[in-house]
């Protein structure tokens, strides 16, 4: 049987009786109408706006900026509200930075020098987790010093801790409230969705406006980004406490507060710890991006590498970030499973041995901390042992070699892709009359997402037109959609391979985990070297950034197709290829939709950051608005447009996802099971968003 026969047969089995499914016909008609309209009304009503032009709305935002600058010291709104928040957050981050990075007095050594920090965190890892993660922690932190990045790493760590502190301070109580009351949850969920759709890059400028640049703004930006996971998972944990236990507690006649404190929280502990894990990881990723608003730490060398085309510097800093991410991830994950392990271990000897070991470790820690405060070698990481420079040189040599050797391929690839795929598609979006494009988008939203999704899309598009950035939005949309398609192709190929073979899964998954811990703009540097500053660079970086999430979701979807079905198909003599096309992919349709949804959000975030490397459009507007006073308003408007694009794409794909989930025959994985699966891997980015995406019908 040929491939086309297989495909058509599979379509037939899915749609029953209909040869060509209705949606294919409709999409084809829409595209034909669009093409005709584009040719007939080329460059008519396509709302262009020159790079240097601003609309009255943008100029009005400029005036707002000027007002804030002029009244920052006198307006009560700033003096009593924003400045107070800034002071409290700033003070807290200073405490952490004095502890780990530097103080203001004397030699400006931190309160705890490197030796003290290494021993202390190792001991904490053992105390909270187990000896394995303690060893990992010790090696990891020593590596940070050996890379020559001790101080920068500690600055990043201090900011991360400060941000996590505030995220938990706000997130856990809000999460408890949302877990107890459906009404609170209904109010809070769209807010959390919004916080997570927002590409982090976008809110740096408004925050710098309100709280000015520096660590305080960086911490606040990070809390916005990292707060949602712990909030969601706290609510989830509280909600999933079995009703019988809660009722049993009620029958004992304990009060409301006591019930939360003694029954619900301990039982929700595991879920909350997963939330903390994800919050820590998200905070680490965001703290790096905050280098753009002068946040100290490892983001600085990454940014510097981007600006001086120095792949080596950026790589070494990125490597340090990954090390820190792995350590933090494993320690928080181990802390999450610790309670269950100790509960299962009934051997009292083990417990006593551990307790004695921990006490001995504590003594050692106190000694190390004391040393790191009294002798110089233990306070300042020795600069003589440093292989960061050598590593950076080696990476640069390698990247130069790759660039020179493969430049004919990379340049050809870039040009070919841009001329034959990207430019025509972008032209369709930017040169057609805007009304036509709006109608096309609404038709697709209606078809896949339904009336509600179409209504939201209409509202989003209206805002985009109102803020005056239609053309730039369409350029960004073109790159985003193409990158998402590429992501999904990659996701399906690798995801199916992983889903079908446990061995391939084991081989690839650690790589995906590591890739996800890399902060987004680390990805830009190598591709900038390979492809130069262009939209293509941003698209490639976006695909690489978004692929791990899509791959994992699809792999999990393929795995969850019931074994009996697959075996039945195989015993009836289908080839592996047929099994994939006819059984495994159709049955993991809801996973595919979820992967598309997540892929889109990740791709959009990255395409926007691509503004830093010549990708132009909305991303460039945001960057330019951030650095040029006269374009401030336009940049802020671009931020709004990005958010609108994000909400629109999210709603359409989510609605499409929940529709497929209702189709009989498609797999619906119980949320809790999926949840456990995630937990074991200790991944971060995706689980929180699983919660927002209605997987089950």
């Amino acid at each position: 049987m040929s491939v086309s026969e297989v495909v058509s047969k599979s379509v037939r089995t899915r749609q029953q009786r209909r040869r060509v499914p209705r949606w294919v016909t409709i999409v084809a008609i829409v595209i034909v109408v669009w093409l005709i309209g584009w040719r007939l009304f080329n460059n008519v009503l396509n709302l262009p706006l020159q790079t240097a032009q601003s609309t009255p709305f943008h100029l009005w935002l400029n005036d707002v900026n000027a007002w804030v600058g002029a009244n920052r010291d006198s307006s009560p709104l700033f003096v009593y509200f924003f400045d107070t928040i800034r002071d409290v957050v700033g003070w807290t981050s200073t405490v952490f930075s004095h502890l780990l990075v530097q103080t203001d007095i004397g030699l400006q050594l931190p309160q705890i020098g490197w030796l003290g920090v290494v021993v202390l965190v190792t001991w904490l890892a053992w105390f909270l987790g187990n000896y394995k993660v303690a060893i990992l922690t010790a090696i990891g932190f020593l590596m940070l010093g050996l890379l020559g990045l001790w101080t920068a790493s500690m600055a990043t760590l201090a900011l991360t801790f400060a941000a996590v502190f505030f995220s938990l301070l706000i997130g856990i109580p809000v999460g408890i409230a949302a877990g107890l009351s459906r009404r609170v949850e209904r109010v809070i969920t769209p807010v959390l969705d919004f916080m997570q759709i927002l590409p982090s890059f976008v809110y740096l400028a408004p925050l710098a406006l309100l709280f000015s640049i520096g660590p305080a703004s960086a911490v606040i930006a990070t809390v916005i980004y990292a707060g949602p996971p712990v909030t969601r998972l706290t609510a989830h944990g509280i909600r999933t406490v079995p009703a019988t236990i809660a009722e049993a507690a009620d029958s004992l006649g304990i009060g409301r507060v006591q019930r939360v404190w003694t029954v619900l929280l301990p039982l929700a502990r595991r879920s909350i710890v997963i939330g903390i894990n994800q919050t820590v990881m998200a905070a680490l990723a965001m703290v790096t991006i905050a280098a753009l608003i002068a946040a100290p730490g490892l983001g600085q060398p990454v940014l510097q590498g981007l600006q001086s085309l120095n792949v080596g510097i950026a790589f070494v800093a990125g490597f340090a970030i990954v090390i820190m991410a792995i350590v933090l991830d494993r320690v928080t994950t181990a802390a999450g499973t610790r309670a269950e392990i100790t509960a299962r271990d009934t051997n009292p000897g083990h417990k006593r041995a551990r307790r004695i070991g921990l006490i001995a470790g504590l003594v050692l820690t106190v000694i190390a901390v004391y040393l790191s405060r009294t002798v110089l070698w233990a306070a300042q990481f020795p600069t003589e042992v440093n292989f960061g420079g050598a590593l950076s040189d080696a990476v640069n040599a390698f990247s130069n070699w790759v660039q020179q050797t493969f430049s004919f391929i990379t340049i050809g690839l870039n040009h070919g892709f841009t001329v034959w795929i990207l430019n025509p598609f972008q032209a369709m979006l930017t040169q057609s009359p805007f009304i036509l494009v709006v109608l096309v988008i609404l038709a697709i939203a209606l078809l896949f997402g339904g009336v509600k999704a179409a209504a939201i899309s209409a509202a989003c598009l209206a805002v985009i037109i109102a803020v005056g950035l239609w053309e730039d939005s369409m350029v960004t949309l073109a790159s985003t959609l193409i990158a998402t398609i590429a992501t999904m192709i990659l996701g399906v190929v690798v995801g199916v391979a992983m889903g079908r073979s446990a061995r391939i899964d084991r081989l690839i998954r650690p790589g995906l985990d590591a890739a996800q811990t890399m902060p987004s703009f680390v990805y830009l540097v190598p591709f900038l070297g390979l492809f130069g500053a262009s939209r293509f660079t941003a698209i490639v970086a976006a695909v690489i950034y978004a692929a791990p999430v899509a791959i994992k979701i699809i792999a999990d979807g393929v795995v969850s197709v019931s074994k009996e079905t697959v075996e039945a198909a195989e015993s009836s003599g289908t080839t592996p290829w047929q099994t994939i096309i006819k059984v495994q992919l159709p049955m993991s349709k809801s996973s595919l939709m979820l992967a598309t949804n997540q892929g889109l959000i990740y791709v959009l975030a990255m395409v926007v950051i691509g503004g830093l490397v010549g990708a132009g459009a909305l991303g460039y507007d945001v960057v330019a608005g951030f650095v040029q006073l006269s374009l401030f308003g336009k940049g802020l408007a671009a931020g709004i447009a990005i958010v609108m694009l994000g909400i629109m794409l999210d709603r359409i794909t989510q609605a499409a996802g929940s529709r497929t989930a209702r189709v009989p025959g498609s797999t619906t994985t119980p949320r809790s099971r999926k949840h456990d699966q995630r937990t074991k891997e200790g991944t971060h980015h995706d689980t929180d968003k699983y919660e927002s995406a209605p997987v089950t019908g």
């Binding site: 600058g69 920052r72 004397g106 400006q108 710098a208 000015s212 500053a533 010549g614």
Partner: protein
């Protein structure tokens, strides 16, 4: 309920440990910091928060200032990598003390120096800056009339790239650099599109490749810049600059002004840290000096600090004059 009591015991345990750790930290004050406090107290110079823009000329100025301030005045200089305008904003809210190479920015000077009175001019650096449009030397030689902007439309198709949407490509650097190029292209009715390379380094790389492969390229560049001694880019004539012709950003149709580059510092810094502020005011050198240091940093791959040390050692008399 065993679970509850275990978790509570663990909670108490953690609390005890944390308290113990904190006691260990705060109980005895670090002897290292306090012990050396005397040396810090001896010099009157404190912290300097220096904004760091990302073109190499700026890095050169900042490296030399930092080296002299640290070695001769024992100041603590913190370099904060910031885009130009963000640096100005920092002067306003106290996060930045000084900007060491400022290119014009009349709008910002008006806002922060004249209106808000949070910053002051700290004098000229001695460098004369000029932004302009440039082509690689081979192109100027092959088509001499290209050196006048009024002839650019004739060649627009030669500058076409996949990124420029059917128009000629005009390459800009970092989005944060002072540029009127997008407005100039529109207002001079040129069939070009401004495309951003993203950084100074990317721009230099593009010019280098264009000269080596004899490809068509036109872009934004500026003097002083060490790169001009490697590839002698030729400037393209724009309609002459007259006072105020660049007042409205979107309506500019004239050449860039010749900027006498200067230094800016916050009012607070001038009062609070006199030695460092005086050094900033006295800092003065030539385009050749800057190019020498910049070239060591880029082409010779020295660290900024090492390049600064080399220049300071070779120019003792100049440095002594700054510290008079």
């Amino acid at each position: 309920m065993t679970l509850t009591s275990t978790s509570r015991r663990r909670l108490l345990g953690s609390a005890a440990v944390l308290t113990a750790t904190l006691l260990a930290i705060t109980g005895c004050s670090s002897s290292l910091n306090t012990g050396s406090d005397s040396t810090a107290a001896a010099s009157k110079c404190g912290n300097v928060n220096l904004a760091m823009s990302d073109w190499v000329g700026y890095t050169a100025d900042a490296a030399v200032y930092t080296y002299v301030a640290q070695t001769r005045l024992k100041c603590t200089v913190k370099q904060l990598p910031l885009a130009e305008q963000v640096g100005w904003q920092g002067l306003g809210d106290g996060t930045v003390d000084a900007i060491i190479e400022n290119w014009g920015h009349d709008d910002l000077a008006k806002k922060y120096i004249t209106e808000q009175k949070v910053a002051v001019d700290a004098g000229l650096t001695g460098n004369i800056g000029k932004i302009g449009w440039f082509v690689p030397p081979w192109l100027a030689k092959a088509h001499p009339d290209i050196l006048d902007a009024s002839n650019l439309n004739k060649y627009a198709t030669n500058f076409k790239t996949p990124e420029s949407g059917g128009l000629g490509q005009f390459l800009d650097g970092d989005p944060s650099f002072v540029t009127n190029d997008a407005a100039l292209v529109t207002n001079l009715k040129l069939n070009y599109k401004v495309v951003y390379a993203g950084s100074e380094a990317a721009l230099i790389q593009a010019f280098r490749t264009a000269e080596a492969n004899k490809t068509w390229m036109i872009g934004y560049f500026y003097t002083p810049n060490w790169f001009l001694s490697e590839v002698a880019l030729k400037s393209v004539k724009l309609p002459p600059y007259t006072d105020g012709c660049d007042a409205v950003a979107a309506a500019v149709a004239c050449d860039y002004p010749t900027d006498k580059l200067n230094k800016i510092m916050s009012v607070k810094f001038e009062k609070a840290n006199k030695p460092a502020a005086d050094l900033l005011k006295n800092f003065h050198w030539t385009n050749d000096d800057q190019n020498e240091v910049a070239k060591d940093i880029t082409a010779n791959k020295m660290t900024p600090a090492a390049a600064a040390k080399k220049w300071v050692d070779a120019n003792k008399s100049k440095v002594d004059a700054w510290l008079k």
